[in-house]
């Protein structure tokens, strides 16, 4: 930054409060992938568009896509705060520390970090209980696999991903005790070529169900090419791959939350909070279960969804042991949110180790 831009930004900062009343509220979004990824980032961007439509001229939105997690994110978020954003949504786990760092420098800007656990006076966190949807996927996967082998493309070994694996495995093994999970860690959220390679490696190893926790539709394409394999849409419906390989999906619906939070900024009622919504609140939606799924499995899956939504059933209900055989949840006991948010262990029955 040279002296002239420094002075210019200082001038903007100084001038900003004077105009705050008349200006539209500016909402910024930081995305980890391109808005056309067909999955995670696509849904966040749909929610941004919903904010624009809801507020019209009262709100202006800006976004930056494909921002790498880590040091580069600090630059991108700072830039957005300097450009006058009033509220900034940072939409990936890896933005947690960068968000905290930038938030400390801009106490008047509100920050909303997705899927993390660190908060401050001007930093909220929000996430969805994806594990509820994973339970339904696990049920369908365990019921439908013929090879009893289910492949799972994981991104990074963080609690959100580990929760999903555990939930899917518990519900797959409940309907099919012989089921085995192969987990492949891709170490990326978005790399279609690598995701397709991972899907292919799993399919070649005899897995006939592929679950993914990465953001692109590439594993769906690889499964379609292979033929007799089923998959689930991740973060978005991925309806292009209906009715097979994609037999159902988890859809993240962020729009109501984003509209709510931007409204709070307009009203001046915004406060730091930690939000974790599930099927019940509509943040996690289950996409259409296609005809490729046998009717009875479909009905069981929908019944499971109802039980979870009503709070009658918690996907992590004991007895559940940890992978090493030690007891985690006793008969009838349900997991508390604290343990779930920091989950760093596999449940009993899963093979392999979680990489560090």
């Amino acid at each position: 930054m040279n002296r002239r831009t420094l002075l210019a930004s200082a001038a903007i900062l100084a001038a900003a409060p004077a105009f705050a009343q008349d200006d539209p509220v500016k909402a910024g979004f930081i995305y980890v992938g391109p808005i056309g990824d067909g999955g995670w980032t696509y849904e966040h961007n749909q929610a941004r568009l919903a904010v624009e439509e809801h507020f019209g001229d009262a709100v202006e939105t800006v976004y930056q896509e494909s921002v790498p997690e880590g040091a580069d994110a600090v630059r991108a978020i700072t830039q957005m705060a300097l450009s006058g954003a009033d509220i900034i949504f940072t939409t990936s786990f890896g933005y947690m520390d960068p968000t905290m760092e930038v938030a400390a420098k801009f106490p008047d800007v509100k920050f909303e970090h997705a899927t993390g656990y660190k908060t401050a006076d001007n930093v909220s966190t929000y996430s969805a209980r994806f594990y509820e949807g994973r339970a339904i996927q696990g049920h369908i996967a365990g019921s439908m696999t013929e090879t009893n082998k289910i492949g799972y493309i994981a991104s990074f070994p963080i609690p959100e991903v580990i929760r999903g694996i555990n939930s899917a495995y518990l519900h797959a093994s409940k309907v099919n005790p012989d089921v085995e999970f192969s987990v492949v860690w891709a170490y990326t959220w978005f790399d279609p070529a690598k995701e397709a390679d991972a899907a292919r490696a799993l399919i070649e190893n005899g897995n006939d169900v592929i679950l993914q926790h990465t953001d692109s539709t590439a594993p769906q394409a690889a499964a379609q090419e292979a033929g007799d394999v089923i998959t689930f849409g991740q973060a978005s419906d991925m309806a292009e791959y209906k009715p097979q390989p994609r037999v159902s999906s988890i859809i993240d619906d962020w729009a109501p939350y984003y509209i709510d939070r931007v409204q709070a900024v307009i009203d001046g009622t915004w406060e730091s909070q930690q939000v974790w919504h599930g099927i019940d609140e509509g943040m996690v939606e289950i996409g259409e279960i296609t005809d490729a799924v046998p009717e009875e499995v479909r009905e069981e899956a929908l019944a499971l969804k109802e039980e979870i939504a009503s709070g009658e059933y918690h996907p992590f209900t004991g007895p559940i042991n940890r992978q090493d055989g030690s007891a985690w949840l006793a008969e009838g006991e349900t997991a508390d949110d604290g343990t779930l948010l920091g989950m760093d262990f596999y449940v009993e029955g899963l093979t392999g180790e979680i990489p560090n």
Partner: protein, 305 residues
């Protein structure tokens, strides 16, 4: 732990290596002519989207590859005109080319998201393909795999044995001397840039038509940068480019397969290993003091003097 089928594994490695091999061999020619084009990523993604769109509309993957090569080559010419005729900075212009390619491809690709493309058939080489094991490993790939290897051989032969190759190298080593001898430095470099663009386009189209196969925005996800690294890794020599690309593709696919087979592997280290190897090779070549880099690489050439 289950065993990995080596035949399928080798086939996967070849598919995984081909896009970066195509892009890297093209960039090798560009850099041997003394031009540093950092726009490989942008040209690849342009090839990916144009190849996909044309293949979908025409129903022919062959037409897709041809269109991808042409589109990326034409795009690379904009870099050529800016850097060679208007003498703009090569590094900045190359980075600009990447940005243009990423934006342009997102725009062109919008209607093609979620569509299916016709796939490139595996070649049937008759009795050769039926050979046990060897037939599956060597003689049952799609034509682009063979074409990419043939291209490496051709680039090597042209650079080493032909007068055209000698002139190209002369231009890259010392453009003032080549100019004094009467060679058209700018024209030769424009041709090299065009060739490099076409190769990057083919690599991109291989991603969207064979390796994934679908169009997703931003789908190259850094493959162009890996191709650039491989050129340096290979010290600008064609056969080493082949080794580098297969090593890179190989490690990626091998570690995914090991994980899928349930082997206990240090995933984080294996994921980073291609980059670590590249750094190691760079350290070794700079320690030896012989870089192998063309003498005029990245330097502007002003013919008027």
């Amino acid at each position: 732990m289950e065993s990995i089928n080596p035949i399928l594994l080798i086939a996967s490695i070849m598919v995984s290596a081909t896009p970066i091999l195509l892009a890297a061999i093209g960039e090798t020619v560009v850099e041997r002519s003394g031009v540093l084009n950092l726009g490989v990523e942008g040209m690849m993604i342009t090839g990916a989207v144009v190849g996909f769109a044309v293949a979908v509309n025409s129903g022919s993957p062959g037409a897709g590859f041809a269109a991808a090569a042409l589109a990326s080559a034409v795009l690379s010419l904009s870099f050529g005109v800016l850097t060679q005729l208007l003498l703009s900075n090569q590094v900045a212009t190359g980075l600009g080319l990447t940005l243009v390619g990423l934006g342009l491809s997102a725009l062109i690709g919008k209607p093609y998201e979620g569509m299916k493309s016709p796939t490139l058939p595996k070649l049937d080489l008759g009795p050769l393909s039926d050979l046990p094991i060897l037939g599956r490993i060597l003689f049952s790939h799609d034509i682009m795999v063979y074409l990419s290897i043939a291209l490496v051989a051709a680039v090597w032969a042209v650079l080493k044995f032909t007068r055209a190759g000698l002139i190209l190298r002369a231009v890259g080593e010392n453009h003032d001397a080549a100019h004094a001898l009467g060679y058209k430095v700018v024209r030769i470099r424009l041709m090299a840039i065009f060739f490099g663009g076409a190769c990057a386009g083919l690599g991109g189209a291989y991603l969207s038509l064979v390796r994934v196969p679908q169009w997703t925005e931003g789908m190259t996800a850094g493959a162009g940068w890996i191709a650039l690294a491989i050129v340096v890794f290979a010290s600008w020599r064609p056969w080493r480019v082949l080794i580098g690309a297969y090593l890179f593709g190989g490690v990626t696919v091998l570690q995914l397969n090991l994980q899928a087979a349930g082997a206990d592997v240090p995933v984080a280290i294996l994921s980073a290993s291609p980059y670590l190897v590249t750094i190691l090779v760079l350290v070794i070549i700079s320690a030896r003091g012989v870089h192998g880099a063309p003498g005029s690489l990245g330097r502007p050439f002003h013919p008027g003097l």
